[in-house]
């Protein structure tokens, strides 16, 4: 074997799953190399074989999968010149276990589930250390705490004894990074490390990874479908599709001069902030839909009615967490989830609601849907038949009102019952509201399927035989079955791949204009909101901090929170790298960092929504003048 300068050289790697007794190849001869200390991004849709490749590198393939061909040559810089073929090692052999976690380590997508809930993070991190290094008990704790400090845990010695469920998603991911790095590996495999995190947290974690990578001169294999992350992190890019490498090369060549049609399509499928008004995303596979007679356009049924469709005023919701109880002392903690939330949604518009996880966006949507009761506030619904006090409805009145508002959920997998066929799923709302007879319902369901571009022949199938995007279309069809006026979309695309995301976003946009629907579109993804919304409302810690028309918000964000959110979005553009250094450690929702204009003072504890421009409102201190904020 010749001496190589690469840290890892993957040659014609093939991995197959045993499916019903016959092998199914998912990685079909992938080759790439990673130089020491460089970042290589493996890009592709889900199912493209990128995660399986990473698992093969670490010898942790699922039991039903095995490497059927090719080589994974690993040359450890610490053992001069010695090359190991990982593909030929048995996955549980001691040689493999010595590499795993020590020279090559991995972090995963889901920080919520990748740590054991029953052991302290200190215990779990230290375990990786004591497995591979001979250290004494006291020293191990010291090294672990040092590592926790290195990944910016505020108080490492306290964090050592904390359990994962006591930490936020960002901190858990940092604990994972600490665990992966504690033996100073030569290669870190990061499998979608930030996909489950908020943008601002994502930016911090990326910053962390980059910094550690440079400090320890470690190589990273970054697996992601987010081209914005790739542009900010990678030195080289490998694009995979259906288990084969489509294109590979240095990052600037890939972005500036994409060659392969698949890569081009992928780049076009991502919503970005520089899209011209009216420009459409190019999804890789477009949906052909067809609008039937039951779904005619709601011809401005009340054109003369200028009232907003939905008027939410002073909504407030608190959650109480209790500790102890019964005979013990009760210790109540009140958490304000939504605070003084006032918002209007105009007929026919798409209002985007953005904010980090835990800011109360979903609680707002649930209160509007009457799934959660607010502590105070009103919700008023206006249509041709007059005004309705949504929160005052009860019993049969509420049931009669339900068809006006419907919801599309985030997770297309758990929001459809696995025991019902698509026909039953789509027919259920019609049965509940006693609409039509058997024949009419069937006709309507068929029409619904065509409306979302699905073949009505699939009606008798169960949800599991559909892909994520198709399921989400079933979810949309179900929401549309009752001809609602308002559709609440709660993160409808965040569980989907980019190309499918483009498909669903285009479908939602088309349906909105063709059917005259009104949307409340909730998302944490600013680019997605930018693409679909007409007006955007930004929420932070239960409060609405800024509302503005789409163009205005992105051009001229006024509130520091909005600015921080926008700054943290990674662009799929090499010329606009993330300004990682200026991201404040406390997170964008750190109230102190906002400055006096945006904070309450003891003499004026109430903030006001100041209209600084037409339709542009910002939550500020009472003394602030609109002129000060206009630029």
């Amino acid at each position: 074997m010749s001496v190589q300068t690469d840290l890892i050289r993957v040659e014609d790697l093939r991995v197959a799953f045993m499916l019903h007794g016959s092998p199914l190849e998912v990685v079909k001869g992938i080759s790439f190399r990673i130089k020491p200390g460089s970042v290589v991004a493996l890009v592709g849709e889900s199912g493209s074989g990128k995660s399986v490749t990473a698992q093969a590198l670490l010898g942790i393939l699922p039991r039903s999968a095995s490497i059927t061909g090719g080589e994974i040559l690993f040359q450890d810089p610490e053992t001069d010149g010695q090359v190991v073929d990982i593909a030929s090692l048995h996955r549980d052999s001691s040689d493999m276990r010595e590499l795993r976690g020590s020279r090559i380590s991995m972090i995963f997508q889901e920080p919520m589930t990748s740590l054991s809930p029953l052991h302290t993070i200190g215990n779990q991190i230290e375990e990786a250390l004591t497995l591979h290094r001979e250290v004494e008990k006291g020293d191990a704790r010291r090294v672990t705490e040092e590592m926790l400090g290195l990944v910016n845990f505020p108080d490492p010695s306290r964090a050592y004894d904390m359990y994962p469920f006591e930490l936020s998603g960002g901190l858990r991911q940092r604990a994972m990074i600490a665990m992966a790095m504690i033996c100073r590996p030569a290669l870190l495999i990061a499998d979608e490390p930030t996909t489950a995190l908020d943008v601002t947290v994502q930016a911090q974690v990326l910053h962390q990874l980059k910094e550690l990578q440079q400090k320890l001169n470690m190589a990273i294999l970054l697996i992601t479908h987010d081209l914005g992350v790739v542009a900010n992190m990678a030195d080289e890019v490998v694009v995979v599709y259906h288990g084969e490498v489509m294109e590979a090369g240095p990052v600037d060549a890939i972005f500036n001069n994409p060659g392969h049609p698949y890569l081009k399509a992928l780049l076009h499928a991502v919503p970005h902030f520089d899209m011209k008004p009216g420009e459409r995303l190019q999804s890789i596979r477009d949906i052909n839909y067809e609008i039937g007679p039951a779904f005619g356009h709601k011809q401005n049924e009340s054109a003369e009615n200028d009232e907003p469709l939905l008027k939410i005023s002073n909504l407030r919701k608190t959650f109480v967490t209790k500790k102890g109880g019964f005979f013990g002392a009760t210790d109540e903690n009140t958490l304000v989830a939504v605070d003084d939330f006032t918002l209007e949604i105009k007929r026919g518009e798409c209002l985007g609601l953005v904010g980090e996880s835990g800011c109360g966006k979903t609680t707002v949507s649930k209160m509007i849907m009457r799934a959660v009761s607010p502590d105070s506030g009103t919700v008023e619904f206006n249509n041709a038949s007059g005004k309705t006090d949504v929160l005052g409805l009860a019993g049969s009145e509420l049931k009669r009102f339900r068809p006006r508002m419907q919801m599309v959920f985030q997770d297309p997998f758990s929001s459809l019952s696995p025991r019902m066929t698509v026909l039953n799923i789509l027919r259920e709302p019609l049965i509940i509201h006693e609409m039509g007879n058997e024949k009419e319902r069937l006709a309507k369901v068929t029409e619904l399927m065509r409306l979302v571009g699905l073949d009505p022949r699939f009606l008798n199938r169960y949800p599991h035989s559909f892909s994520g995007g198709q399921r989400q279309r079933v979810g949309i069809a179900r929401a549309l079955a009752l001809n609602p006026d308002l559709l609440l979309c709660d993160e409808p695309v965040s569980a989907l791949d980019v190309s499918v995301q483009a498909q669903i976003l285009n479908l939602l946009k088309d349906l909105q204009s063709e059917l005259g629907l009104t949307y409340l579109f909730i998302s944490h993804n600013l680019a997605v909101i930018d693409y679909v919304a007409d007006r955007i409302a930004v929420m932070c810690k239960g409060k609405l901090v800024e509302t503005a028309p789409r163009e205005v918000l992105f051009k001229n964000p006024v509130h520091p929170y909005t600015q921080a959110l926008l700054k943290a979005v990674p662009y799929a553009d090499l010329n606009r790298p993330l300004d990682l250094a200026t991201l404040h450690a406390g997170g964008a929702s750190n109230v102190e960092s906002w400055g006096p204009k945006f904070n309450a003072t003891p003499d004026a504890p109430e903030l006001t929504h100041l209209e600084i421009d037409e339709g542009h409102k910002v939550l500020v201190h009472k003394s602030v003048d609109a002129m000060e904020l206009r630029t």
């Binding site: 942790i60 020590s102 497995l131 959650f319 005979f327």
Partner: protein, 332 residues
Amino acid sequence: MFAYIVRRFLIMIPTLLIISALIFFIIELPPGDYLETYIAELKQQGEKVDPSQIEFLRQEYGFDKPVVLRYFHWLGGMLVGDFGYSFEYQLPVTDVVGERLWLTVLLSFVTIIFTWIVAFPIGIYSATHQYSWSDYGLTFVGLLGLAIPNFLLALVMLYLANIWFGTSVGHLMAPEYLDKSMSWGKFKSIMEHLWIPVVVIGTSGTAAMIRRLRANLLDELQKQYVVTAKAKGLKPFKALVKYPLRMALNFFISDIGSILPSIISGAEIVAVVLSLETTGPLLLDALASQDMYLAGSFLMFLATLTVIGVLVSDIALAILDPRIRLAGGATK
């Protein structure tokens, strides 16, 4: 944590009180009382019944007093260890139960240990070798154990034990030791007889536990943190025991609460078939003949076991699972 345990102990008091009231009420429900059953029996045998004697007995046992008073009398007695008087045996309940209680506890304890020793390795093996021939084989044996009625198994085992080992048929000891005080010979005889009911009673419990352990462990083995543990370079066995098995134990610990009473009350039919000197057959008799204090004390005994079992499992869970210990009581 300490406050939690104290609180749990205090909650036990009203729980047991309510249970005792319920038990007493239910025993009182059937028409008539023990004396009426007794008179009917005497009449059937053609004996004369002396009304004054009946009246004496009625007063003696307090049947002429209102129900509530009798309940409090019974309750107060139990607190000082007086469980009342068995009419049928003409003895205090404590004397009737006597040795049987300890034999029952012994039998149950050995059965539980047997169940765990057999179920654990098999369950773990089945889960880690899912869909292999050995998994199917063990599953088949487990299902057999679930499906064969206990009493049938008891008869077969009795026969085999008698043929192969010459063990005397029935009872928990050889006939010559019945009603004798404890001695080395008696102890040996008990040990010799004990395994039959242990295997018979334990089989279905073992089979059920294997199935549950397998299902729970399979769920846990899918979890991401198992992959994390492997990615650290942990040995497969250690990665199994430290993470997923530990998680799968939760169900098992919460099971302790129900395992105690179910083994004691569920073994009645087997105990009758095998003529075991345990409490099961006694309880059946007591219920049939309306021997109310005996039956009541038994039911109370079962209830107390359940409550203690639940307490033990709750405390064990709180110790083992930090999520319960630290996040306990938090509602969303």
